[in-house]
């Protein structure tokens, strides 16, 4: 067959320049840093565990994004605020428990109560937002729910500002979670370990729910084809609410873990983690549950290791400032070069 030679477009050229500079940059930076040998193996490992625990949290939040997108094809921009509300409510419960002494006497039980409270609050917030802001717009053009979601996000943020004030808060100290632990020769802080373990457990539960339970199957059906599912007798509205609820539950748990990990609770705490979690969902392939999990872990690790690895070798000061850039650069690169992500389904784009 006669093959017509492809035209070189300006856009194509720009894309190739980007591809090459990314590859060159990564290789050059890594080589420069590693050959300098400034950070020890233990230091790198510390960054990796840090990234793993943060990534686990991103994964939990990303699951909320990916589930909702699979079912509604919309980006729930307000999901970061669902996460934030969970963190706040967990904080209040935690302080309440601390004042009754339960936090000290029965830390495990107290932690479970805190998690439950946060997950419940987040679930309620998520479902309420769906009901008020998204449901009336089910049939609207794509951009309309996105703009609504942005509005809902702003609204929730500043509601939290009005309700709880702008001060940065923290969780009460829990002795059980302080200090480091040595596991198989690896030094990791207890809270990081808890985060990773708890997130893994939740992800396993979620996977089970999606794959094995009836409502999970219904959700998958709706995400495959909404109209046919309705014809088959599935209550689409209910499935959607359930999806939001599940996403909310996970985000609430993430909120508590995040707050314990970083000891920082404020009304804008959901903005950056929300965007990064969405990046993770996109990276893993939007609509894919294992994709969101993997994407989250990857974003967490890239964020922690990336700036140091690529820039320390060039003596760039304050590499830490650029960690947020990593997530955004990954987002841009993934969407430009491989919008389906790692495990995504092509139809969803």
């Amino acid at each position: 067959m006669f093959r017509r030679p492809r035209r070189i477009t300006l856009v194509g050229l720009v894309l190739w320049v980007v591809r090459i500079s990314v590859v060159v940059g990564v290789l050059a930076g890594s080589w420069a840093t590693l050959s300098e040998g400034r950070l020890s193996g233990g230091a790198w490992f510390g960054l990796l565990t840090s990234g793993l625990s943060q990534g686990a949290i991103y994964a939990l939040i990303a699951l909320g994004y990916t589930l909702v997108y699979g079912v509604l094809f919309m980006i729930n921009f307000a999901h970061g605020e669902v996460f934030m509300m969970g963190a706040f409510s967990g904080m209040f419960v935690a302080f309440g428990l601390a004042s009754t002494g339960l936090l000290e006497d029965q830390p495990v039980l107290a932690l479970l109560v805190i998690l439950a409270a946060a997950m419940l609050t987040s679930m309620i917030v998520a479902v309420t937002v769906e009901r008020i802001a998204y449901r009336p717009l089910r049939r609207a053009p794509r951009l309309v729910p996105l703009i609504t979601a942005i509005g809902a996000s702003l609204f929730l943020q500043y509601t939290a500002f009005g309700l709880f004030g702008p001060r940065v808060r923290r969780y009460p100290p829990v002795e059980l979670l302080e200090g480091r632990i040595d596991l198989l020769g690896i030094s990791i802080t207890r809270i990081q370990l808890l985060t990773i373990v708890a997130s893994l457990l939740l992800m396993i539960v979620l996977y089970y729910w999606v794959e094995r339970t009836r409502s999970g199957r219904a959700m998958r059906a709706v995400s495959e084809n909404k109209d046919v599912s309705a014809l088959m007798g599935i209550d689409v509205d209910r499935v959607i609410v359930t999806t939001f609820a599940v996403g909310g539950l996970l985000a609430g748990a993430a909120g508590v873990l995040y707050a314990f990990l970083f000891n920082r609770v404020e009304f804008i705490m959901g903005v950056l983690p929300g965007i990064k979690a969405f990046t993770a969902a996109v990276l893993g392939g939007i609509g894919s549950v294992p994709g969101a999990m993997l994407g989250g872990l990857m974003i967490g690790m890239l964020e922690n290791v990336g700036p140091q690895l690529l820039l320390l070798g060039f003596d760039v000061p304050s590499t830490n400032q650029l960690r947020d850039v990593v997530a955004f650069v990954v987002l841009v690169l993934v969407l430009v070069f491989r919008p389906t992500g790692l495990f995504g389904r092509k139809e969803l784009i």
Partner: protein, 417 residues
């Protein structure tokens, strides 16, 4: 003829004659003085209050910084009002929010303030970058801007584009002074290497730059790494990992709560930083949130800052501060500077104001400025204040305190000089 005489007599008694006013002011005539003054006078009628403005960062994230200064000034005002006010006039405040992160908000605050024509002076701003557009707006009307919290050297440096002009001065210390003091301390401790962390604010950035320069100049110290955390930063592991790779003798992070608190907490037991001395400055000094949040991790940490302590401070100022603010302890670090600034303003008014026979007070603006910035050896809460030729009035005496356990509680104890 008789009518004319009567009219003349009525005229004479109706208005205070210049000679009468002049007599009341020891031979000076207010009308003439005010006319001669480039920006005229503030007129405060008998029975009216003297208006002083504040332009501080009283909302949003840095609200504590601004509110703390505002309350400090208000305490001074309340004390003065209890004594009968300034020359018989009570002190009244106009508060505006000057913001912190963006320079525009300083401009807006200044524009809001100048709507009040009888403003004598403005205490502000909190963050140096908001003073840059605010000062010219106020100076254009002859209103003096007196800052309790700006520390950027550029504001009082005539060669800098950020020079705030001649109607600007401050009771807060210049970063040049504090950074040098910290470097001196570090050198005297025998530190050879140091790392710095700033938070993107000009305050922190300036301080650590001055420190780095002085550390090198004074004793040839080496800076192993310069790092930064963003305001809102949650994870300190990455920053600390990079710093710990070089195990510096001294880690200096002149930042605020909560970033400083989180950094301190994370640094405890961090591999590579076991022998590193942690240090900060008045961003964290005296902040109860820091002690709360960092707990025992803060033991042994040093902080520089002006001294503000003593019997009057503990037993008279602090209770009054609690009354005004509703807080148990001060929420930031510049309340003493604000208190001193307010009192210096009051003292200056008392010195330059002229009164006419009606009891109206006239405060010539340029004379007010000149007298305020000629203050020498004023005893304030922050020390002995003398305004230099660039209108930096702060006591250059910077102390370094260490966090120690005192009677079972964590407290700052002055250890240097």
């Amino acid at each position: 003829m008789v009518l004319a005489l009567i009219l003349a007599a009525c005229q004479a008694s109706a208005s205070a004659s210049p000679t009468e006013s002049a007599a009341a002011n020891g031979g000076e005539d207010p009308a003439a003085i005010c006319a001669a003054d480039e920006f005229g006078c503030v007129e405060v009628a008998a029975g009216d209050d003297i208006l002083i403005g504040t332009a501080l960062s009283i909302t949003g994230g840095p609200a504590n910084l601004g509110l703390d200064s505002q309350w400090g000034a208000e305490v001074a005002g309340n004390f003065k009002n209890d004594e009968g006010g300034v020359l018989g006039h009570q002190i009244s405040w106009v508060h505006e929010d000057a913001g912190c992160a963006e320079a525009e908000t300083g401009q807006t605050a200044a524009q809001s303030l100048v709507v009040n024509e009888q403003l004598v002076a403005v205490i502000g701003t909190s963050c140096s970058r908001t003073a840059v557009p605010a000062a010219p707006v106020l100076a254009g009307l002859g209103i003096t801007l007196f800052s309790p919290a700006n520390t950027s050297p550029t504001l009082t440096d005539p060669t800098s584009p950020e020079f705030a002009g001649e109607f600007y001065g401050r009771t807060a210390h210049n970063d040049l002074v504090q950074g040098a003091a910290v470097a001196k301390f570090a050198c005297e401790q025998g530190f050879e290497t140091a790392a710095t962390v700033h938070d993107g604010s000009t305050y922190a950035d300036n301080l650590r730059q001055v420190f780095e320069r002085e550390f090198d100049e004074q004793c040839g110290g080496t800076i192993t790494s310069q790092q930064a955390v963003a305001i809102g930063e949650v994870d300190m592991t990455a920053v600390l990992t990079t710093i710990a790779a070089d195990s510096p003798d001294f880690l200096y992070y002149p930042i605020f709560h909560p970033e400083g608190t989180l950094l301190t907490a994370a640094a405890e037991g961090f591999p590579g930083l076991e022998d590193t001395q942690l240090g900060s400055s008045d961003g964290l000094l005296g902040d109860p949130n820091f002690l709360d949040g960092a707990g025992d991790a803060s033991l042994g940490m040093v902080m520089s800052g002006p001294a503000c302590a003593g019997d009057f401070y503990e037993n008279t100022f602090l209770p009054a501060y609690s009354d005004v603010s509703g807080e148990d302890t001060p929420v930031s670090v510049f309340h003493c500077h604000a208190y001193d600034a307010a009192n210096m303003i009051f003292a200056t008014i008392e010195e330059v104001a002229l009164e006419d026979a009606d009891g109206t007070l006239f405060i010539p603006r340029t004379a007010f400025r000149d007298t305020l910035f000629a203050t020498e050896n004023y005893e304030g809460l922050t020390g002995i204040l003398t305004c230099d030729e660039n209108r930096d009035c702060a006591d250059p005496d910077i102390r370094v305190s260490e966090i120690q356990e005192v009677d079972g509680e964590l407290a700052w104890v002055v250890i240097w000089p």
